[in-house]
Amino acid sequence: MLSVGQLNEGVVLDHIQAGKAMDLYRYLKLGDLDCCVAIIKNARSNKMGRKDIIKVEGPIEILDLDVLGYIDHTITVNIIRDGEIVEKKELSLPKKLVNIIHCKNPRCISSIEQELEQIFYLADEENEIYRCQYCEEQYRHSAKHRLY
């Protein structure tokens, strides 16, 4: 396997669906960060066959885990300190999404008041259903990778 420099302090996003790392890079706005970011594409994986990996040199706080959880809560998040994995964070569907998805209901107030934050709340965790805070329009988080 291609060797990428070892991470001493940072976060490794593992088990990303192959080919999707660049999409995640965009949604997590990793391009705006000053720190070192490495993207590994099509790495071999026993579990997935092929997978993508993203390594970010910096504290976990710089990543929006809500965005990550919404995009794909099956991604593994490893926290690295002194070159070792010290914590594996479980992702879950966030209870609230702010400005991540947009309401498509043309009758919703958010369609005309542009300055409003687009807020969705998790209405049904089992069926992964979100509802717009304003009009309650339903958004099914169908399978994963909705935003990919």
């Binding site: 209901n105 009758r107 919703c108 107030i109 958010s110 369609s111 005309i112 008041e113 300055e115 409003l116 717009c132 805070q133 304003y134 009009c135 309650e136 329009e137 339903q138």
Partner: protein, 306 residues
């Protein structure tokens, strides 16, 4: 500070207190005649709705308060492009409580989030119209003495009728309510009401097409209007609009205690010959609408009358 956005904002216990207060207002009007002296209600109606607006205004005037506001977006600052958030911030400086109707769904919630005074949703598009549901509940409870243990027929446009959906949502919180859903095939209740509300609640419900078949077993018949604006083509509307007409002949099939309700305005779905039937309660329902709005204003303003 509390607002009213949805009929389910109140718990069953809170609702009982509100309806008790409305009944007390009904029976002791004088006691409440000055309860809101010096207080102002702002009616912010971005689309016309004479009935609801006047009902709110009558409620506040009955309490000794005053009203101000506008009755269409054209006569408001919205015509100049002001946001709902800014409008309510300003209105909060002028009034003590606001009732808002807006064609866009969620607009009253936006107002509530930016308001310094209680906001009542007086109807937001096809979304919610909580004071209509409160009116319906007060009418049923006042006329029948209870909200549970009733067989309720809902007739007409059950697909687009938000009053019907709200009423079902409110009534499934009571025990032994049986629903009879009477509609043409094209206007049956949406799946989410059937599956997520009715079936999940465990309440018994049936869906039928013929009003004549259902009417003998009903305690309440809630008629609704088929709304022209919900149809994409005129042909479908014309075909549906007179699907149900409640007349004297059908009323003969109903029990002596059955009550007929309607959120009004009606078009053809209730023949005027039914108006003189003692079981026709839809104009009384409009009166209950004023009482429940009075009770709501007092509750949200936290005014206690001894």
């Amino acid at each position: 500070m509390r607002h009213l956005m949805s009929p389910l904002d109140f718990s069953v216990e809170e609702l009982e207190r509100l309806l008790d207060l409305a009944n007390d207002i009904e029976n002791h009007r004088d006691k409440y005649a000055h309860a809101c002296d010096g207080k102002k209600l702002a009616t912010l109606f971005y689309e016309p709705s004479t009935r609801t607006r006047l009902s709110f205004e009558a409620a506040m005037l009955n309490l000794g308060g005053s009203v101000l506001g506008f009755s269409s977006a054209d006569s408001s600052s919205a015509a100049k492009g002001e946001s709902v958030a800014d409008t309510i911030r300003v209105i909060s400086c002028y009034a003590d409580i606001a009732a808002m109707r807006h064609p866009k769904e969620g607009a009253p919630l936006v107002a509530a989030l930016h308001s310094g005074i209680p906001v009542i949703n007086a109807g937001d598009g096809g979304h919610q119209h909580p004071t209509q549901t409160l009116t319906d509940l007060l009418t049923i409870r006042s006329l029948k003495g209870r909200l549970g243990g009733l067989t309720i027929g809902l007739c007409g446009d059950l697909k687009f009728g938000r009053t019907v959906h709200s009423l079902i949502n409110a009534l499934v919180r009571y025990e032994n309510v049986r629903f009879v859903l009477i509609s043409p095939e094209e206007l049956r209740v949406p799946d989410y009401v059937r599956e997520d509300v009715l079936r999940k609640s465990g309440h018994e419900f049936t869906e039928v097409t013929r009003l004549e078949d259902a009417i003998p077993e009903l305690d309440i018949l809630y008629m609704t209007r088929v709304q022209r604006e919900r149809f994409f083509n005129e042909e479908d509307y014309v075909r549906m609009k007179d699907f149900y007409i409640l007349d004297k002949e059908k009323m003969r099939l109903a029990g002596p205690e059955m009550m007929v309700l309607h959120p009004l305005p009606r078009v053809n779905e209730i023949s005027v010959e039914v108006d003189s039937d003692p079981r026709a309660a839809y104009f009384k329902q409009a009166q209950y609408g004023v009482y429940v709005r009075m009770a709501l204003i007092l509750t949200l303003l936290e005014v206690n009358v001894c």
